[in-house]
């Protein structure tokens, strides 16, 4: 569409369409027009189908509509109809049937035709269909609210450092919402950072933190998987690194500059920094938490901070002017000045998130679970029962069917009929 990037940027900055698309987040791959169109079609389809099924499901749950109309003559013709011959004259038979199914927790009603009945197990199961499918809309509302109100940013803080609410302190702001832009007042102070290792595996990360939400100060301990939640705001520990204290001294020994420099070197990678006082110098750092030199090779014995050392390569303009390794308390002589490695602290990067929409989303999850279980675990089983009198002796015809599992219901029904027969005989004898 565009011949080069400049033309695209020009269009992007001047086009109203581009600005609208950017505003509603369509430039994000999972929010791209194609995805959105597919999602819209999906939800329209879901809405139409679900609404269309509402009357059917209500009827199936016997909440609306008339009871089915049938007669003994119809049931008799069924392939799997069960027959119970009662030796009584039939007086009070319907009551006994009612008692039996009540005991079995089946919904029991008289049918529309004379001497006909229906018994239903898990009558409200079809409502599960409606709950499950409508729960998607709650999830959609929650998801949209989260998408359009979410603020997220990464905030690195070294032990002893504080955050006073200045957004400039964020390393990066990954999501800045177009609406609900204003964040609640938040201040943080990192008291301590303590990683715990077991056999070279980071098994714990403890961060002692003071958090101030408005006027309320809260002292807390954060861990991985244990963030701080306050209303719509979450403070999550994402990763750690080290901040060595470098002190720069001139030829007379006078301190020129000093700073805890937050470096991303804990995973074995190298990082580069510069001092603001003189940006001609660049410092390339490789970090060894438990330094050892064997056969001329530098390495670390473990990832625990037992003997920290830094391999420093200093460049000035395009030349390397120093290359060497300094341990804690040692200095590197760069000619006109020295750089000493005097202290080391951990820094921790927090993910600060503020978003709304949790309640509809979680409600959607719960309702979906309930609906799914209602519909698929407690599926409906229906019995049609008709009584026919033959020489004044009643004959019971039972015809049953189950949702989903027609064949395995045959065994269940045979057992049910056997129990009903025993129940009726027992009652009669009793």
């Amino acid at each position: 569409m565009f011949d080069n990037e400049e033309l695209y940027v020009l269009w992007k900055d001047s086009s109203i369409i581009s600005r609208v698309m950017d505003f509603i987040g369509f430039t994000d791959i999972y929010m791209s027009p194609l995805t959105i169109v597919l999602l819209i079609l999906f939800f329209i389809n879901l809405l139409v189908v679900t609404l269309n099924r509402v009357p059917v499901m209500l009827k199936r749950a016997y909440l609306t509509g008339e009871l089915p109309s049938f007669a003994a003559a119809q049931l008799k013709q069924g392939k799997n109809v069960a027959v119970i011959a009662s030796e009584t004259d039939g007086a009070g038979l319907d009551e006994r049937l009612k008692d039996f199914f009540k005991e079995k927790r089946w919904f029991f009603r008289e049918g529309r035709g004379p001497a006909t009945y229906i018994a239903v197990r898990n009558r409200l199961s079809p409502i599960g269909f409606l709950l499950f499918h409508f729960s998607f809309f709650l999830c959609l509302i929650g998801g949209l609210m989260i998408t359009y109100t979410r603020f997220s940013g990464n905030l690195p803080l070294t032990e002893g450092q504080s955050f006073q609410g200045d957004v400039q302190q964020f390393r990066v702001i990954t999501r800045d919402p177009k609406i609900f832009k204003r964040l609640s007042p938040l201040e943080l102070y990192v008291e301590r950072v303590q990683p715990v290792y077991d056999r070279e595996v980071p098994t714990e990360l403890v961060v002692g933190l003071q958090a101030k939400f408005g006027d309320d100060i809260q002292r807390t301990t954060l861990r991985i998987n244990e963030p701080l939640h306050r209303g719509a705001m979450s403070v999550i520990v994402e990763r750690i690194g080290v901040s060595p204290l470098f002190i720069v001294r001139g030829p007379s020994g006078k301190q020129i500059d000093a700073a805890y420099v937050s470096l991303n070197v804990l995973g074995g990678q190298e990082d580069v920094f510069q001092f603001d006082s003189d940006r001609r110098y660049s410092f390339n750092v490789k970090f060894f938490p438990d330094y050892v030199k064997e056969d001329g090779y530098e390495s670390t014995r473990s990832i625990e901070m037992k003997n920290p050392a830094i391999r420093l390569v200093v460049g000035k303009d395009t030349k390397i002017i120093y290359s060497g390794t300094i341990r804690l308390g040692e200095s590197a002589d760069l000619g006109p000045f020295t750089v000493s490695f005097n202290d080391i602290r951990y820094w921790v990067e927090f993910l600060i998130v503020r978003e709304y929409g949790k309640i509809p989303l979680i409600a959607g999850f719960i309702i979906a679970g309930i609906g799914l279980i209602m519909r698929l675990v407690f599926y409906q089983k229906r019995l049609r029962i008709a009584i026919e009198y033959e020489k004044d002796k009643p004959l019971l015809y039972l015809d049953g069917r189950s949702e989903y599992f027609k064949y395995s219901f045959e065994d269940e029904m045979a057992k049910l009929v056997e129990e009903l027969e025993k129940f009726l005989t027992g009652k009669r004898k009793g």
Partner: protein
Amino acid sequence: MLEDILTWSCIYSYTIASILLLSGFVFNKEKLLKIASYIVVPAFAAHTVIFVMRWAATGYFPANSEFENAITGGWFAIGFTVYLFIKNRALTGVALFTVPASLLLLGYGVMKSPDPLPLAASLKSSWLVIHVLFAQLAFGAYAIASGMGLLYVLKDRRMSRDRMSMFYKKIPRLEVIEENMFRFVVYGFIADAIMIVAGAIWAKDLWGNYWGWDPVEVWSLISWLLYGLSIHLKVTLGWKGRRLAWLMIFLLITVIITYWGIDIVVENTRHIFGVTSMPDLMQ
């Protein structure tokens, strides 16, 4: 030491059982299926001991490495198979699918990392048990559904021929196989849904968002939606028979991609947990 002995006993037992099951089906020998079931049941007992021993030794639900995931995943698949042995002997044939699948899983796990590792900070959450337990339950149920699909297709093919051997006559009716297949799909679908929801809630605490469009998340959603679609195809559109059976066989591929495929192929998934050391520096 005991764990090693039991693990290799399981592997050898499942290997022999797989050979017997395959031979039984190829040569129509019911006796071989019976012998296989006699091997699988004690092997499953040993499998259970490994599962419990690992849990007791590490103090966490076994889901911290490929080996532990293989032990747990295989345990559910074989557990469902043994349940079927007891409930309906005629459905022993399902093992033709689940036993070799569990054997491959175990073999892969043993190759990767059998030694117990401390639980990484990212996995220290009560959601781990819920998320992984339901994931493995879903896998076990879907694997059984695929096994039923295979059984259905094999019997259906034999029935279309003139004469059916006694071997296939003893396998339950096609309708019964189909119903059982659907039952396990439903079971897996519910477990899968709980797994996804539990994962989303856990992800909020660990990564700060319920859904991050991570490859594993996307594939788990694809897999769940496809199984949901298969339920709709059966219940609403009346799909049945051979095409439903084939669908169930092929749908398991989506679960395998989600659980194991992504970790092998994709490097930037946030679902790779475990050790963060400094291999370059420690050499």
